[in-house]
């Protein structure tokens, strides 16, 4: 199957349609909520939560003995939430900084989860196989009920987000100030964190514990490059996430032996790379172009300033001078002289240049920076 065939089949084939819809919805909710994580500078929280969810999956299986994804994800949710609150507890009750708390919880929970997984694998229960798919995810195991759950949770998250948009925004920008206005910042904080945990848990089956934070952060990081507006950023991150999901699934379905989760993450990574380089305001490419242009402009103005100093010594400012006398000033080139002429600031006549009235005025005002309003 090639990609074209995939996009023809996706409308009719049940499995393909389910998986594609699932990864698209997952990408959207993760992009949306990931924006909040990125703006709160809690990017690593996602990584810690997803790792902290692993023992929950294993324990849920040990207790119930069933491998139903709903039950396992509930276990993941509980253990992810416990991990999150312990992280918050460690940061607020001890002298340890948040990176230490995140690292501790991540590795301890993940270690415990791995221990439980190996224990389960040694069990004679034939049902045990396949729990390790939660490590790297397996989109192929998505069924309709999983996708339905994703859609419901995404819908609820969207609703909560729209309802508390104002509160979310002000908390992200200035938490202390929010408190003085009388908002219960702890409630808003817990609400945002809870939604992020939900999104992560939803993605465990598809993308897995290890790569989950990438799908949370990459769309948001890419979206931030393109806009200075919070709502646009969240929307764009959701779109990039959804597109990464669909395109990642398409690539992985059209090749054999490419697992979906890592491909989705790589597609999102390409978005990030592209955005870092090509975004017009914050991208590296345009920054370099602006830098070069500024440098050329500056050179031009320096040359003009030098000419101005010479012209000042004469009664007639447009008195012609030999180009040669610019030789003790190193900053000019034939190109910059030509450019000065096209600007109408000097006139060139053979080997002579003369300042125009306009150029004189320009040079005079160079240091008079006027307040520039939009």
């Amino acid at each position: 199957m090639n990609i074209q065939e995939y996009f023809e089949l996706v409308w009719t084939d049940y499995t393909l349609r389910t998986i594609t819809l699932g990864t698209a919805v997952l990408g959207a909710i993760c992009g949306m909520l990931g924006s909040f994580a990125v703006l709160r500078k809690q990017s690593l929280l996602g990584d810690a939560i997803s790792h902290a969810a692993l023992p929950g999956i294993a324990l849920a299986f040990l207790i119930t003995g069933v491998k139903d994804s709903g039950v396992l994800l509930l276990g993941a949710l509980v253990s992810g939430l416990i991990g999150t609150f312990w992280i918050r507890g460690i940061t607020s009750k001890t002298h340890l900084k948040s990176d230490t708390a995140l690292g501790l919880i991540l590795s301890i929970f993940f270690g415990f989860g791995m221990l439980l997984l190996t224990f389960i694998q040694k069990q004679p229960n034939a049902n045990q196989a396949g729990l390790d798919k939660y490590l790297f995810g397996q989109a192929a195991t998505l069924v309709e009920s999983d996708v339905l759950l994703m859609i419901i949770v995404t819908g609820i998250s969207l609703l909560v987000m729209l309802l508390f948009w104002k509160e979310f925004k002000i908390l992200l920008f200035d938490a202390d100030y929010t408190k003085t206005l009388g908002f219960n910042t702890k409630f808003i904080d817990v609400l945002i964190t809870f939604l992020i945990v939900l999104a992560i848990v939803l993605g465990l089956q598809t993308v897995g514990v290890v790569l989950m934070s990438a799908i949370l952060l990459a769309p948001a990081a890419a979206a931030r490059q393109w806009t200075n507006n919070l709502s646009t950023m969240v929307l764009l991150a959701a779109l990039i996430g959804a597109f990464s999901g669909v395109f990642g699934t398409a690539i992985s379905a059209s090749q054999s032996n490419l697992s979906t989760g890592p491909v989705i993450v790589l597609v999102a990574g390409v978005f990030v790379l592209f955005s870092f380089i090509f975004s017009p305001k914050r991208g590296l490419l345009f920054r370099e172009i602006r830098f070069r242009k500024n440098r050329t402009d500056l050179k031009l103005m320096k040359t003009l300033q030098f000419m101005y100093d010479i012209a000042q010594d004469h009664e007639n400012i447009s008195h012609p001078h030999a180009i040669r006398i610019l030789n003790n000033f190193q900053g000019y080139t034939r190109g910059s002289l030509k450019k000065l002429e096209t600007e109408g600031w000097i006139s060139i006549n053979g080997q002579q240049w003369a300042m125009t009235a306009e150029g004189y005025k320009q040079a005079q005002e160079m240091y008079n920076q006027k307040a520039v309003n939009e």
Partner: protein, 246 residues
Amino acid sequence: MENQKLAVQIDDLTVAYNYKPVLWDIDLSVPEGVLMAIVGPNGAGKSTLIKTILGIIKPIAGSVSIYGKPYSKHRKLVAYVPQKGSVDWDFPTTALDVVMMGTYGSLGWIKRPGQKEKKIALESMEKVGMLAYKNRQISQLSGGQQQRVFLARALAQDASIYFMDEPLQGVDATTEIAIINILKELRKAGKTVIVVHHDLQTVPEYFDWVTFLNVKKIATGPVKEIFNDDNLTKTYGINYKVAVNK
């Protein structure tokens, strides 16, 4: 002055971070309508005092009242200008949007800001001379402009008492004069303004009331009466030569 209403009253306030007292047994009364500077060396607890009054930091003992009631009851009478450096100015939003946040408190939960709130925000921006920058991304504002945006946000709260944490820090002379003029306008309108201030030289010129703080309260009262070498020495520990009498 005796009959004047008290805008802020603090009794026996003690705040500690990990057993180390930051504020020790503070009693402080601020009469209504003064423009007050809080001065003291680094680590004296100036910002902590404001944050405790506003309920951001919990004290281990003592009480604060705003016009005779706890802060939570009189929240709408109070506006706050935090230190400029306390937020990330690369946040994706515009100057107008930040000023609009000043109206969120009176809006309450869930309700969205509308035309009325926008009008309030625009008026506040005009007062601080930032109207021309209303659609600017906040990261593209200069330090002085960011400070004015914070001031406008507090003005949008339309409060009776304004708490400001170093509003003159890192701003140029023009902005400083502009901000001080706004503070004087507020006092003229009968508001109480409490400012954490660092530049001792300008205290007599800008303020009419002053509190000396260094973990303990050293003195509080009218600038004319208590802004002298004695109190400065007690607060800063060294003989501080300041031109007090103009």
